[in-house]
């Protein structure tokens, strides 16, 4: 065996033994992703179901009853009755209901006179997204009711036929869970390496390593391989949880998923290496890892917030967030299948990021202490 191979073997064996003996790295690699995924998989959902909707009927009538029946039948609403708008408004302000529909006393009279009465819909606009969804739900019920009233099958001249591809039931879990995997893996990848190398600096073992004939890439490679495998193990656990527990379909090729995950893992580990080499102490390394990984992956990856709606300068910033590319690949592979036109450019971007981070790590990691 030549010396280089011997050195690598020694270091990788050492790293693996340390992983096996140190429960914290196993916890970060397997337990942290599993717990986070379970917590967030159940905790994060954007579907506005069960809207508590107030119904203000100032004067009961057959027309009013038919309309309120419409809301009662809707799967989206938990209706609550109010006798006047004032109490409903108080309830809205106190957060007891999310919106209310107001049928004034003259509703039935005006309707029968053909006077086109106004139906007031008041929603709490504080959460604009939620408000918009409620408005849509109410509008749907109102449209159906309108069609029944006029007896026409043509409530509106233009008939919209929505087709939501890939996720016809619009289950937000189906796209959030793949996105979460990216967020969580960013975290574990960077945290694992950032803390592990910083620990070598603090314990003085790095100094002892550096005076041997070992070269800096050997040190980096020996760090990468075990943690790469560890991270990929966490990835497999996450995918299994997503598919079996959350029932998210995996329509694309698992092989491509593995490739994308590998590139992403390399980018994350590379980033961790850069952070830990620059920081040289666990405290600063951990702090930088948190600031530069979790929040950007959460907010700038397109996982929850739509990237194309962000202002152009911010969109530019999202390009340096590796999770952005991985989120896109994951959502496509899980829900749409292996769409090469999405997967290829994103894989390419991930490869570039991995190369850049690993290259920078190699550049900043000099075999010197100054």
């Amino acid at each position: 065996m030549n010396e280089r191979a011997m050195r690598l073997r020694g270091l990788i064996r050492k790293e693996s033994l340390q992983i096996l003996r140190d429960p914290s790295s196993i916890a970060i690699a397997f337990i942290l992703p599993a717990v986070l995924l379970l917590l967030f998989g159940f905790g994060v959902s954007l579907d506005a179901r069960h809207v508590t909707l107030g119904l203000v009927v100032e004067q009961p009538s057959a027309a009013a009853a038919s309309l309120t029946a419409q809301f009662r039948q809707s799967p989206y609403f938990v209706p609550q009755e109010f006798s006047n708008a004032g109490t409903a408004q108080t309830a809205l302000a106190d957060g007891r209901i999310e919106g209310f529909v107001w049928l004034r006393a003259n509703f039935a009279r005006q309707l029968s006179a053909g006077h086109d009465p106004a139906i007031g819909l008041f929603v709490n606009g504080t959460d604009a997204n939620n408000a918009r969804i409620i408005e849509n739900y109410v509008q749907q019920s109102w449209t159906i009711w309108g069609a029944q009233q006029t007896g026409s099958a043509n409530p509106a001249p233009i008939a919209v036929q929505p087709r939501i591809w890939f996720n016809p039931a619009v289950r937000s879990r189906d796209y959030l869970v793949p996105g979460l995997i990216a967020v969580i893996m960013t975290l574990t990848g960077a945290l694992l390496t950032a803390l592990v190398i910083a620990r070598e600096w603090e314990r003085g073992t790095m100094e002892a390593l550096m005076v041997t004939k070992i070269s800096m890439h050997e040190i980096l490679i020996s760090k990468l391989i075990p943690y790469f495998l560890l991270g990929m193990g966490g990835m497999v656990v996450s995918v299994l949880i997503a598919v079996t527990l959350f029932g998210v379909p995996l329509r694309g090729s698992p092989l491509v998923l593995g490739l994308a995950a590998s590139l992403f893992m390399l980018a994350s580990l590379g980033m961790g290496l850069v952070i830990s080499t620059v920081a040289k102490n666990q405290f600063v390394a951990g702090q930088i890892a948190i600031i530069t990984t979790f929040l950007p992956a959460f907010i700038l990856s397109g996982f929850i917030f739509d990237i194309s709606s962000m202002p152009p300068p911010i969109q530019l910033v999202t390009h340096i967030v590796a999770a952005r590319y991985f989120v896109s690949i994951l959502q496509t592979l899980f829900l749409a299948g292996t769409v090469w036109s999405v997967v290829l450019p994103n894989l390419f971007a991930l490869a570039v990021m991995a190369a850049v981070f690993l290259g920078v790590a190699r550049l900043v990691a000099r075999k010197r202490l100054d």
């Binding site: 010396e3 020694g10 003996r21 003085g204 004939k213 100054d370």
Partner: protein, 591 residues
Amino acid sequence: MAPGLEPGAAIGKPLVIAGLTRRFRAGKRLVTALDGVSAETSAGLVTGLIGPDGAGKTTLMRLIAGLLRADAGSVRVFGTDVRADPLAVQGMLSYMPQRFGLYEDLTVQENLDLYADLQGVATAARPERYRELLHMTGLAPFTARLAGRLSGGMKQKLGLACTLIRAPRLLLLDEPTVGVDPVSRRELWEIVDHLVRKAGMSVLLSTAYLDEAERCDEVLLLHEGQLIGAGRPGGFTQAMAGRSFHFRLPGRSKRALQAALATVQGVTDAVIQGEAVRVVLEPGMAPEAVQLPGFSGLTITPVPPRFEDRFVDLLRARSGARGGIVPVAEAAQAGTAETVIEVSNLVKRFGGFAAVDGISFSVRRGEIFGLLGANGAGKSTTFRMLCGLLPASSGRLQVDGFDLHHAAAVARGRLGYMAQKFSLYGELSVAQNLRFFAAAYGLTGARRAARLDWALREFELGPRADVTSRDLPLGFKQRMALACALMHEPDVLFLDEPTSGVDPLARREFWRRINALAESGVTVLVTTHFMEEAEYCDRLVIMAQGRILATGTSEELKAATRSASLPEPTMEDAFIALIMADNAKTVEAAA
């Protein structure tokens, strides 16, 4: 590749250092760690790199190992320039950093395997090398033990074994003996001696312990980044011949005597050693010529010179300073029979392990009392219990009438505490630290102002009042720590490793203040693993494995070891004899 020893292949000097300079940025200051150092070492010898903490020893080691880049000057290892080809140099040397990088979660054998892989030792050559190293270090029975579970001395020996897995041409050892108990220290030295003599290896070994200089073949003396001396240690010591004496005056305070002697014209150095004061005179000065009004009937005996005398002499010559004069009032109440600290059957268990295992001792007012022991002997645990930082598992302890762990906060106002490594708020300036501790001790109004003023003046901190304390030199940090501990004029003073690593002059200055305090009736409890410091104590206990091996004055402890083969035992000899006897007893009991 076989462990290449190739005797005679050492072409030229192992180390040639020329004009080596290295600066660091510490806060806003630029610190010169090494200032134009030029030196050479000889092949096949142990070269000691001697100097206090902050002298630049580690920086020099790292520069030689190619881990740092010099600002100016060059280092050649067997003719190869480190800067030009660091990998080639790293191939020739082995380096054991101060905190050697043992992987604590790997076993002894796994650590050895790792370094054998890293150093490219052929698989076939390993069994023989392992056997040799394990035998030499005495680690053979512990190969399956995790390195983290080894004692401090065993860790150092394992570190040395890992460093030596492939016999290098040049071996760099950075403070291998720091914090190690005297027995392990002796064993480490035996390994080093054995290696050099047998394998013809060249060694550069750094240490802050001046007594270790005499074990080296040649020494380089480093102080504040400058080389202040180089040569054979015997030569250094011999230059001091006829200048060292013991002054004794039974019946009078040795501390008052020491304080008086230290101020006499013509005295280079005066330190307490047991019951005597060890004095080094200026060249040509006769001991009878020492004028000491008020002290008559002195007994003066000549003693052999030691390495530290020369070091102090060199430093005095450089600085010229004598330090301020601290008058020592020979107080009447000094050494009264009143007991201030009382410990009986004290036990502290962590899980099933007894860190302190039933110890008893008592300290009288105005006494300087030492807890002597290696790292892990239980002295820090005892110390922390006395300060009230840890609850005792069982037994009784009282400080000035209180068990501080249970007593009201006010009771703590009577003790002063100076932590190991002089821990103070590094981000705060000197004045801010002092103000904080004044407030923490509840000083207010005029008294507070007076004490703050006293601290700045007495410890000569005034000019540095606004310096961020992290950027202070070590000696000043120590002064500031003492100033903070004395802010409220405590009755009892706890000092944890108070002078470890500081240079001999700073140590003398420190002890001058402590002596003065003791004379004025302050009770002082000191922990130390530093044998020299034990000599300054009135009485001390020697601890090992949580138990007290012996109690007494340093004279008494040394006298117990005196034999025909060892007519003048040192404190270290006494310590080792006690440990050996104790180990023998343990083995006997086990058998």
